[in-house]
């Protein structure tokens, strides 16, 4: 393990930013801290960097306790959301700063700076000032600056947050490739799940100062640990029903739910992603919810259908492949039957 966080808590006044958080970051991995803002992910990152001091808990780096170390002694590279480039220094001076303050000779510094300029594809622009660069270029400079002194860990705080959509996509792919090249243990913070899934090989989902789930993107998306993760990772339909004897029942619809074999019935929330719902013109034997089509949006790779359940008046979102949609020939105002291919049930106080 490159970084090991054990029982870290942090309060800001009465606000609990981190609540007994423990986390292992494997060497050479690219890990994303994902969560809504205020979930404590940035605080955790800053505690790893030594920019914030934890109230309790320890931070280990390769089994060395670095909790008491100052930021400058931790050998981490930190990339700030708004770059935090020194605007009175040139790009080259910015990148070489970490070497300069550590007393690296000028010649050696120059070599390293040139090397990094090439890596971030800005060779020849070393004598410019940050104000003369575009946002994406500045972000790359910030990254090069963090990498210059060969840090043990690279930490990135919402690295693409301040960029426009097109540059953001480009930089994501570039960061992914860069990480494959240099293999430095990296942790980045984001609130954008798409970004986390696209770039990271491990995802940590945080909420209200706690870690909700850790796993690879596939694991997290396919097997969400709880309702929050399910809800946070994209659109979901929530039905209120109950579970008993290995079944979940939602307004006339029965689905198998072997995780709850007990005979006594309990209230439960049934989560179904829009693409895991199917629409039929006729009622199938498994049963289905009768619903009226409100609106059809056929643009995009999937056709989005908005329906209203006839009995509960609940809104239901369904995503169909264009082929399936064409096959059914749905129109607004029609009444159809909706049935799930797959459900996840979260029983309060009975979560995994």
């Amino acid at each position: 393990m490159s970084i090991r966080i054990q029982g870290v808590s942090k309060n800001f006044g009465s606000f609990r930013a981190l609540d007994d958080v423990s986390l292992d970051v494997p060497s050479g991995s690219l890990l994303a801290l994902l969560g809504p803002s205020g979930s404590g992910k940035t605080t955790l990152l800053r505690i790893i960097a030594g920019l914030e001091v934890a109230d309790r808990g320890t931070v280990l780096h390769h089994d060395e306790n670095i909790t008491e170390y100052e930021a400058r002694d931790r050998k981490v590279g930190f990339v700030f959301q708004h770059y935090a480039l020194f605007r009175h220094m040139t790009i080259a001076e910015n990148i070489g700063y970490g070497l300069r303050v550590r007393g690296v000779p000028k010649q050696e510094r120059q070599t390293r700076v040139d090397e990094l300029l090439k890596l971030i594809r800005l060779d020849g622009l070393g004598s410019r000032y940050p104000a003369q660069l575009s946002g994406g270029q500045r972000q790359r400079v910030a990254l090069a600056r963090a990498l210059a002194a060969r840090p043990n860990v690279l930490l990135l705080d919402e690295p693409f947050g301040a960029l426009d959509a097109r540059v953001r996509t480009e930089l994501r792919q570039w960061l992914r490739k860069l990480h494959e090249e240099i293999q430095v243990t990296s942790v980045f913070v984001t609130h954008d799940q798409e970004e986390a899934f696209e770039v990271a090989d491990h995802v940590v989902i945080m909420n209200e100062g706690r870690i909700e789930q850790v796993g690879t993107p596939v694991e997290v998306f396919e097997r969400p640990a709880n309702a929050f993760v399910m809800d946070f990772l994209g659109n979901v339909n929530v039905f209120h029903g109950r579970v008993e004897r290995g079944r979940a029942v939602v307004s006339g619809l029965t689905v198998a739910y072997p995780d709850y074999p007990h005979p006594e019935a309990r209230d439960a929330a049934v989560y179904v992603r829009p693409h895991e719902l199917d629409v039929e013109r006729n009622r199938t034997e498994a049963g289905g919810l009768a619903a009226k089509i409100l609106h059809v949006n056929p643009t995009g790779s999937r056709t989005k259908v908005e329906l209203r359940a006839l009995d509960s008046n609940q809104l239901i979102n369904v995503e169909l492949t264009p082929e399936r949609f064409a096959e059914l020939g749905l129109k607004s105002g029609e009444t159809v039957h909706v049935s799930p291919r797959r459900v996840r049930v979260f029983v309060p106080d009975y979560e995994i």
């Binding site: 920019l51 930021a71 400058r72 930190f78 700030f80 020194f86 700063y97 970490g98 303050v101 550590r102």
Partner: protein, 274 residues
């Protein structure tokens, strides 16, 4: 800039006309008078007024003391601004307000108090005079009173810049391995230069023209403690208007060229900002 088409909002010609009229009567007319008066002197007369030994001593004293006071103000004002923006401590608001006092206090009052503080039996003089430090009726006194007068300028120009300083830049520096002192000299200080220069210039410009406070504490001895504005008044009291005007023109020219230099310096030190 909220610039609006002048046909939409009313009052453009009225207000601009009045502004120009008022400035014309109160500023342009008098300044023109000074230059007309000065140009009525022959070159010989002009130099005779401007380049006497006494006048040169006065210029030197004016600039020397103003410069020293402005430098001291940069250091002290920078310190006070730093403390006011970075730290919390009891009485901070009072300290903050007190810094403005020299702006609100009549300069004559400032001069009067300083003169009486630093004489032999004054509150501060009684400790300093036995040590051989004489604050009243000396050049040191002039510097002291000019520090008093110029202090708010540096504090009030540096303070907002310090408040706006990006905390991330400092964090970046320390996570890149810089010590606190390295961060201060490499990252914080360079961003403060423009404000420090402006504060220096404001304090310096104010000191060069200062009269009310200096007249009390300097003793006004020609060649020793006579600053240029005092020399102008001395000439006026001899009804030597021509000579007084000549010296005034020199003082004006220096003030204006200094403003120009400072503006250039400032835009130079801001060259990397957007």
């Amino acid at each position: 800039m909220a610039s609006v088409n002048r046909r939409v909002l009313p009052g453009f010609s009225l207000t601009l006309g009045y502004t120009v009229f008022y400035l014309g009567v109160l500023v342009l007319l008098p300044i023109t008078a000074v230059f007309i008066k000065a140009s009525s002197l022959s070159l010989h007369e002009f130099l005779g007024a401007v380049w006497t030994e006494r006048a040169r001593a006065a210029y030197l004293l004016t600039f020397g003391t103003s410069f020293l006071a402005a430098v001291a103000n940069v250091v002290l004002g920078g310190l006070i601004a730093w403390v006011l923006t970075r730290y919390t401590f009891p009485g901070k608001r009072i300290l903050d307000s007190l810094v403005d006092l020299p702006l609100a206090l009549p300069t004559a009052v400032g001069g009067l108090i300083y003169a009486s503080l630093y004489v032999e039996n004054g509150w501060i003089g009684r400790y300093l005079v036995p040590l051989g430090i004489r604050g009243a009726y000396t050049r040191l006194g002039i510097v002291l009173v000019l520090i008093f007068v110029g202090l708010p300028f540096v504090v009030r120009t540096v303070q907002p810049v310090l408040e706006d300083l990006d905390p991330e830049a400092e964090e970046a520096s320390s996570s890149l391995g810089a010590t606190r002192w390295q961060t201060f000299t490499h990252v914080i200080l360079p961003t403060l230069y423009p404000a420090l220069i402006t504060g220096f210039a404001l304090a310096f410009a104010r000191s060069i023209g200062e009269y009310g406070s200096v007249v009390f504490i300097s003793g006004n001895m020609p060649f020793k403690t006579e600053i240029a504005p005092i020399l102008i008044v001395a000439r006026l009291e001899e009804f030597a208007y021509g000579e007084a005007t000549a010296i005034a023109v020199v003082l004006l020219a220096i003030s204006f060229s200094m403003l120009l230099v400072v503006n250039l310096l400032e835009s130079w030190s801001r060259r990397h900002d957007r």
